[in-house]
Amino acid sequence: MIFWLITTLIKILLVFGVLLLSAAYLTLLERKVAARIQNRLGPMEAGFHGILQPIADGIKLFFKEDIIPADANKILFILAPIIVVIPALTTFAVIPFGAPIRILGHIVPLQITNVNIGILFILALSSLGIYGVVIGGWASNSKYSLLGAIRTAAQMISYELSLALSIIGVIMIAGNLSLAQIVSSQAHMWFIVYQPVGFLIYLIASTAEMNRVPFDLGEAEGELVAGFHTEYSSMKFAFYFIGEYAQIVVNSAIITTLFLGGWEGPFLPSVLWFVLKVFVVTLIYIWFRWTYPRLRYDELMDLGWKILLPLALANIVVTGFIMILLGK
């Protein structure tokens, strides 16, 4: 019991630390990749090739003046950035990040907790991310924030459907909702081979869920100043960004677990495989952002409701038919 408690605590601290650190360094990675795509060098001043840039940014944000607008709803204004960060950080509790290891004769699974409804837990938490945006935009009492929040909310509701439906195919093949089981049933073949459409839909819908370019209408700089976080400054502003970047890591980890075989892989240690795959998916998200222009609002809604949703539904039906034909 004591052993279990200690290992779980260590795992929680480890996941928390790594997640926050990678969220911080993702900002640097994004700026570096953006620079390379635009034929620049990116941050070079702080440390070797800008390696200390995230720390410098963090210190700067920490010492900025913290402004709360006079007419804002104070409690909700403070609460909103916190609500953004919580679901992003908690989701990682159910994601297995390595093969079980043996310590002192005990088998320790490298996963904080193995819930038997792992996927639903992730979906439930990701559906709550919207509150931080909506409450933040509303509590600021500014028209740009409100417009950004309403746009974002409408967008997130539209894409959440396709996001949830794109996973159903994986659940059907694995026959289980537990993420540890899903990873172990991919030991021979990754699910991306059976579910290429599901993978693509999840990739697109999750980009929209995170409000990243090309789906960043909620914070379109040209029209809405900065969207829902216009009035935020200092650490509250930073919280929105920690939330966003942690969500990129989490979504990459979910894609890795559901479609790319999780930690399964030959030769290298399992944790390394997991990190490698997550890194590749993260790069895809960043690559998206610096390649595509922003969609118009009606195009965004058309893509969500008229293309992704029917495709996701068709994917489920086709998967079901093939499974029956193959007699699985």
Binding site: V115, I117, L120, S127, L128, V134, I135, I150, A153, I157
Partner: protein, 165 residues
């Protein structure tokens, strides 16, 4: 486990009270979300993880979001002076009285009942409660399930027609 039950109960009752006591509609909508979280906690204590996840996913993640959106779009920052007419008041008092009668009747008749049927906690944990719920929905309760889905379809079509007008 008992302690958890009481913690969830206190949160549920407190947030339910706050829903009707706060003046700001958005804040009361957020208290509804808190209340749903407490209810999800009850489901987990009852070994019904599937229902708990659905409670959060459907109610907290979708339905209350729509309510919040409506509040934001109508810009109901503060509830205007509520009109207290006799009609409203009488309906409210009658429903509260009915609820109290129901609670008293329930407390009087309900003794300690043992769970019946073959699905004990051990069996549910072995098969998985998602599988059991799915099995029942598609065999024994398939008719009510389909009726509910037709009801939702009617609502969707109705909303579409109203939006078109």
């Amino acid at each position: 486990m008992d302690a958890l039950f009481y913690i969830f109960s206190i949160i549920a009752i407190f947030s339910a009270l706050m829903v009707i006591l706060v003046k700001n509609p958005l804040t009361s909508a957020l208290y509804v979300v808190l209340c749903f979280f407490a209810l999800a906690g009850f489901y987990i204590l009852l070994n019904m993880q599937f229902l708990a996840a659905m409670q959060i996913l459907v109610y907290a993640g979708a339905i209350i979001v729509l309510i919040v959106l409506v509040i934001m779009l109508l810009n109901l920052a503060k509830a205007k002076d509520t009109i207290k007419d006799f009609h409203q008041l009488s309906v409210g008092i009658i429903s509260v009285l009915l609820l109290f009668v129901e609670i008293i009747l329930y407390l009087n008749t309900a003794g300690e009942t043992k769970p019946t049927g073959i699905y004990t906690n051990a069996v549910i944990n072995k098969i998985g409660n998602t599988q059991i719920i799915g099995q029942f929905l598609f065999t024994k309760y398939v008719f009510p399930f389909e009726v509910a889905s037709i009801l939702l379809l009617v609502a969707v079509i109705g909303a579409y027609i109203f939006a078109k007008k």
